[in-house]
């Protein structure tokens, strides 16, 4: 199967998987029997923060929410995960874009060089 996914989709799935909490939620969602409030108890962060992570995964199509009585159960979206496999193949695209941006940057000519230590910039 030749999957066709857009560059935006690659960025999106890549970014969704770039967060440790979201990867953990994703692996727990494999079992598909934890509600959002139960998930929220597992992490040292607010319910709202966990809800936000679930929302990112849901929007990326990696998990789905379904009602189970009064709970909303989070489970893995198999189609979304197939896309994640395609993402592996598309690390290629990540680098293609990075090098593309390098070319754009060099086309702008010489940029002022910032020699300040980074610690000073973010202190």
């Amino acid at each position: 199967m030749e999957a066709v996914i857009t560059d935006e989709r690659v960025d999106e799935v890549f970014a969704a998987l770039a967060d440790a909490t979201r990867r953990d939620i994703l692996s727990r969602a494999m079992d598909g029997d934890l509600g959002i409030s139960e998930l929220a108890e597992l992490y040292p962060m607010s319910f709202a923060a966990v809800q936000k992570h679930v929302a990112v995964l849901e929007r990326t199509g990696l998990v789905q929410k379904r009602p189970d009585g009064r709970r909303r159960v989070v489970s893995t979206d198999i189609e979304g995960l197939r896309d994640a496999r395609v993402v592996l193949d598309h690390f290629e695209q990540l680098w293609r874009h990075r090098v593309g941006r390098m070319h754009e940057l060099l086309d702008e000519g010489d940029l002022p060089h910032d020699n300040r230590p980074d610690q000073e910039r973010y202190r």
Partner: protein, 163 residues
């Protein structure tokens, strides 16, 4: 962007990216060595990077975060292995947890960057990246596939039981 060649070896999870620039090796090196230039190209367009620490010496540490459209800020790091300006840089890059500690679960990659003059006006950059924890993602994926299959089988059983 036609001046970018990429070869991919799935078996060894290795990606080789080659591109030629109309610039000197020193200028191309600055793309990596100057944090302000690095953050202009490292993150995806929807997730621009901000470099926090940038110690480009063997054993040095580079840390950054990216900022997404929702304000989420995934963190990443480089562990610098070899540095030979302006020709060679070897690093490991991976994701970090909220506290900035390396998260070894996945995916960590090792990249070797070689910058060399082709002629007086052209510089070739070759990046060889190996994704050694691609296998971990595959495993995650395989678990999902298996689970999906199992629940699909469960649904068939349930349907058969109804009739």
């Amino acid at each position: 962007m036609s001046n970018i060649q990429i070869t991919k070896d799935l078996a060894s999870a290795t990606l080789v990216v080659t591109s030629e620039f109309a610039a000197s090796p020193e200028r191309v090196w600055q793309l990596w060595a100057d944090p302000r230039q690095l953050e202009r190209w490292w993150g995806p367009e929807s997730y621009p990077a901000t470099v926090v620490d940038h110690d480009l010496r063997p054993g040095g540490h580079v840390s950054y975060f990216m900022t997404g459209p929702e304000g989420d800020q995934p963190k990443g790091y480089w562990h610098v292995i070899e540095v030979d300006p302006p020709n060679r840089l070897v690093l490991e890059d991976g994701f970090a947890d909220d506290a900035g500690q390396p998260n070894d679960d996945l995916p960590v990659s090792r990249s070797e960057v070689v910058i060399e003059p082709v002629d007086r006006t052209t510089t070739r950059m070759t990046i060889t990246s190996t994704y050694d924890t691609a296998a971990a993602l595959e495993q995650l994926l395989a678990m999902g596939m298996e689970e999906g299959l199992r629940s699909a089988m469960g649904q068939i059983d349930a349907l058969l039981a109804e009739t």
